[in-house]
Amino acid sequence: MGTNCRHVFDRLHNFATCWKKRSTPTGRRIFHRDVEKEEFQYASTQCLSSYYSVFVVRLAIMAMLAILIGLLTFLTWHFTKIYTTKSLNSLAYDLRYELLQRPILRMWNILNSTSEITTAQVKLSQYVIRSHTNLATHADQVEMYDAMRAVTWALFASKRALNSITVKYKNGFVQAFHRDLKDNNTFYIYSDLANYSMAAGGYNEINSLSPHEAWNDKDIHGNKSAIWYREPLDPVSGEKTGKVMPIAPEDSINIAGLSQVPDGVASWHVAVSKFTDSPLLSAALPVWDSSNKSIVAVVGVTTALYSVGQLMKELVELHSGHMYLTSREGYLLATSTNAPLLSNSTKPPKLKMAVDCENEVIREGAQWLQKTYGNNSPQSHEVHVENVKLGHQQYYIDSFFLNLKRLPLVGVIIIPRKHIMGQADERAFKTLVILISASLCIIVIGCVCILILTNGVSKEMKLRAELISHLEARRKAEASSNYKSQFLANMSHELRTPMAAVIGLLDILISDDHLTNEQCATVTQIRKCSTALLRLLNNILDLSKVESGKLILEDAEFDLGRELEGLVDMFSVQCINHNVETVLDLSDDMPKLVRGDSARVVQIFANLINNSIKFTISGHIILRGWCENPNSCSDDTNFPLEQKKSRCSQKTKAKQHENNAKRISNRDNKMKLWFEVDDTGCGIDPSKWESVFESFEQADPSTTRLHGGTGLGLCIVRTLVNKMGGEIKVVKKEGPGTLMRLYLRLSAPVDTTEQHCQEDFANKGLVVLLALHGNMGRLVTSKWLQKNGVVTMEASEWNGLTQTLRVLFHARSSAHHNGFDGNYSIHDNLKSKLLSIQELRNPVFVIAVDIGLLDLSTDIWKEQLNFLHKYFGRAKFVWILNHDSSNTIKMELCKKGHTLTVNKPFYKTKMIHILEAIIKERNDELQKKNMTTPRATLKEGDLHESLEIDYTQCDVASSDGSDISEVGGSNPVSVKLSQSSLNSNDVTTNAIPKSSSTKQTSFATGAQGEDSESSEARRASSSSRAVSGKKSLEGLRILLAEDTPVIQRVATIMLEKMGATVVAVGDGQQAVDALNGMSGVEDCRRESLLKERNTRSSQPEILSYPPYDLILMDCQMPKMDGYEATKAIRKSEVGTDMHIPIVALTAHAMSCDEAKCLEVGMDAYLTKPIDFKLMESTILSLTRRTS
């Protein structure tokens, strides 16, 4: 028990320590998430052991419970049993003692009464004999015997328990009363008196001093020869009832003779008579004569012990069990059974030993006693033994010793245990059973309870273990994700460097004079692809940035429409190869300029369109955009686009302006710009509509094989859209394909909302015939035109075009003749249009022809061109070229004077420019008509050029809207340039006369989003490019703070090559010093710079001023590092409106450094080794922005 306890205690102790250990990290985990990782490791190893400890604890608790309940049970049982048994035992002992005491008392009584009777008989005999001392005659003798008989009878009758009283006289005469207890007969036995004649002699003998021998001899002889008579008596009265019968001497009873009182004192012994089956107690006492010298007679009294046996029986009947009395030697005197006490086998009958008793119990009890104690029984013979197994029962054995003088007795009582303890034992057993079963029940229930209770704990443990493992897994995942991000960031950085080289080299190639157009186009294409690749790398970098929450959105003005157009331009190239039409459909209420991160916005759409292109094999991709007016009451979210458009179209222009005005008043409110990217691709399963925006998730895993891609695009898109306060989702659409709808919250800049005042085309007499191949593009354009009050007609293929042309012009000509020709079956719709055309005064026909409508595979296109040329005078032709349209066609067009060409895709802005150009030209024409100047074909070219210039000029205006004066100023210059280059036959070359200002624009936008420059890059004039590329930084003054002489030298030469003036200093302190004192001339510098730029002339005298346009700042420098220097410079700028762009130069290539640079107030960031192109573009973008 002790070891067990200790074992349990050890377990508990272990558990407690376990628990403590475990609970410690739990507590800490909440508060110190930093140390979490270490703790996890620890906790996870603890996990298993704690699991076991729960098990052990459970076992321990169960064991404890079992032990406790077992103990309780045992104690309960024990105490109940012990006390019951004890009390019962004491009671039983008393009972047994009492029981045994009674027969012994009876015995005692019997003995007593026997001795009393004997004594009384003796006394009476003495009295009678002494009163008859003179027995002279025989008659006297008879008288004396009669007297004796009467006295004896009286005594005999008074004690009914007596068996017999005998008186034997000296002369051998015998008088005896005998009571046969069996048949309740009483007899008087006497010897024949005639034989005893020598009575006198007897007296003599009696008087003699030594009578013994004579007595004895005579007695023996006399007795043998004597004749005894037996006389039955009435047991009550003593009257003679029967005939006297002679019997053999001592036949029926034992007569106590002289031999039994040898020393003259009373003697006791247990005798056995032939006639009774019970032992007899006999006492003998001599009767002395008056002189007390001789014995005259011997009185003997016998008492049957039968009554003791009777009493025992009665007692035993009452209490069950067995009793017996034995003499000291072991002879049975009385038993409680009916078993015979005398052995019949021997003659004369003898007393039986107790061990030979016929009753089994008594025999076994006696045998057990004898075996246990042997002959040397304990002192006083008192034995009290419990639980003695006799036979198959247990008994109590008690013996008592009764030390009577000359007759010691031993009483034994054997009581079956069952009798006394039966109930108690049974109860005890039952109690034990009940207790055990009850405790078993309790243990079972307790165990179940413990199981249930600890189950909660173990569940918690399990959960905790799971949690720990999850946290572990999460930590690992995060770590791996971190590694991934790190890796991606590093990789993309590494990859970007060669990409930058590729792009730079392509730029050089583009600026090469000797490239043919085709080569130029190809190179431009390569450049575009490279930019796309670079963008992909940026995507990856973005994602890692976004994931680490480091993405910061720029907040700058940009022309949303132009960015999107550029995007569509770029993608259309890809789409045409795919036979997919790209359509841009922006509603008129879209603000032209918005504030936001243009690069990110473009990225969003680039990703979306890219995605669409990937999955669209044929059909169209439409990028729709409209503005949700914050003033309009209804939410447009669920409006179908058509409905929306129709609603829009109902609006009058005035109302739009009104709305615009309202919008300006609410300019602080961010506008909700809705966009849709609608394609006719394979579509996305509705169940994946949510998950496609997850990282690395693709709608169909097989698409990776088919289309490639990383599954990052949409994830970035969603992150960016959310970052801009918008939402994106996939919307159900009719027909095949996917419809992505998103909105962005962008704020419109304060003063430029009304910048784009497009001309009102209504009532200008414009008739537009759209002969476009793509259905959607045509539809969208014509809808827009109609909305703006321009009569529009459509044709989708060559035949339709010719028919419409014929109808149009023949009908027109016939209209002059008051009626239509019936030759042409005209559609009703067309009819109504024709009617409306007829109403127009002096209509201007604009025919937009898709080059794809011509049959380019054969030479038929020339004839078709000739056919169209017939209408040349009557209508303005706008040719929509493919990017891969061959030069022969372009030259042919040019030859014929078709100089109005635009590249695909054809969208609103291009249309506007065309129409504006046409209107302007018409106005010129009208003026010229007024001046009566003949029209020349050169004018056509002039018109065309002005159109293109308008377009580029618009770009400039849009990207730097505040600088209107510059736009106006540069306009004539551009025109002049274009006219001078008109002689060249190359249309594309003609198309873009690039001034250095536009070049700068392209760089500026290039820095923001490189794709947006593609439209310009494509049309980049090689010669102007070459010039501007070399001296792009002409006139800029740059302060270079760099301590390493090598880098200083290299950077200086680089910058000087670009035309900049460089002042190099060795550390940050010098840089700050160099800047000091220049603030006063700042304004002057700005003016002069502006002037210089406008006049495009280098004026060195202006540059003698110390101001700097830009600072290139190395980050790690002695004395004062770049960060400190920047802080100092920015501090000195506080209060003034100056902001010198500072570009960081650092060898650290990580984004955190970039963040640090930007944090201290630097504007941009260049990594070493310095990339020529990157530096150029960065510097340009910064100087451009500030000027």
Binding site: V1050, K1057, F1172
Partner: protein, 150 residues
């Protein structure tokens, strides 16, 4: 004339081998591109500057590492400078060793620093040797009346 052509070919081969063996990278090309009639001998000038700078820095480094208690911060700054200038002239191998040198500095590993210093010195002497050879060859060509094609 054949001699010049031969020399030019040798020069090209030698330059190519330098690139191939990783002594130089594109930055050197950029450097060469920067050289024009306005600043003749630019490459030589810059490289000489680099040599001076590197000599000074290597001395500093040796001295710093010879101290009983090494000031890793200044060590790191020196290595950084060396890294910057070496990357600017396109001495690729020195640049690489500098990166590992800086790692050693961050770990404050004197053993590693010493090892890296030896390596840098070794690489530096190699590059110096190579570049001097290169310039000698160029000079030969120029002296012979040929032009160094860039």
């Amino acid at each position: 004339m054949d001699g010049i052509v031969e020399l030019q070919r040798q020069l090209i081969d030698y330059t190519a081998s330098l690139f191939h063996e990783g002594f130089l990278d594109e930055q050197f090309n950029q450097l060469q591109q920067l050289e024009d009639e306005n600043n003749p001998g630019f490459v030589v000038e810059v490289v000489t500057l680099f040599f001076e700078d590197a000599d000074r820095l290597l001395n500093e480094l040796t001295k710093a590492l010879g101290q009983p208690s090494v000031d890793f911060k200044s060590l790191d700054a020196h290595v950084h400078q060396l890294k910057g200038s070496s990357s600017s002239i396109g001495a690729h191998r020195i640049h690489r060793v500098c990166i590992s040198f800086r790692n050693s500095c961050e770990e404050q590993n004197v053993e590693g620093c010493l090892k890296n210093l030896q390596q840098v010195k070794h690489e530096y002497s190699l590059v110096k040797d190579r570049l001097e050879t290169l310039f000698r060859m160029e000079q030969q060509i120029l002296n012979a009346g040929g032009s160094v094609r860039r």
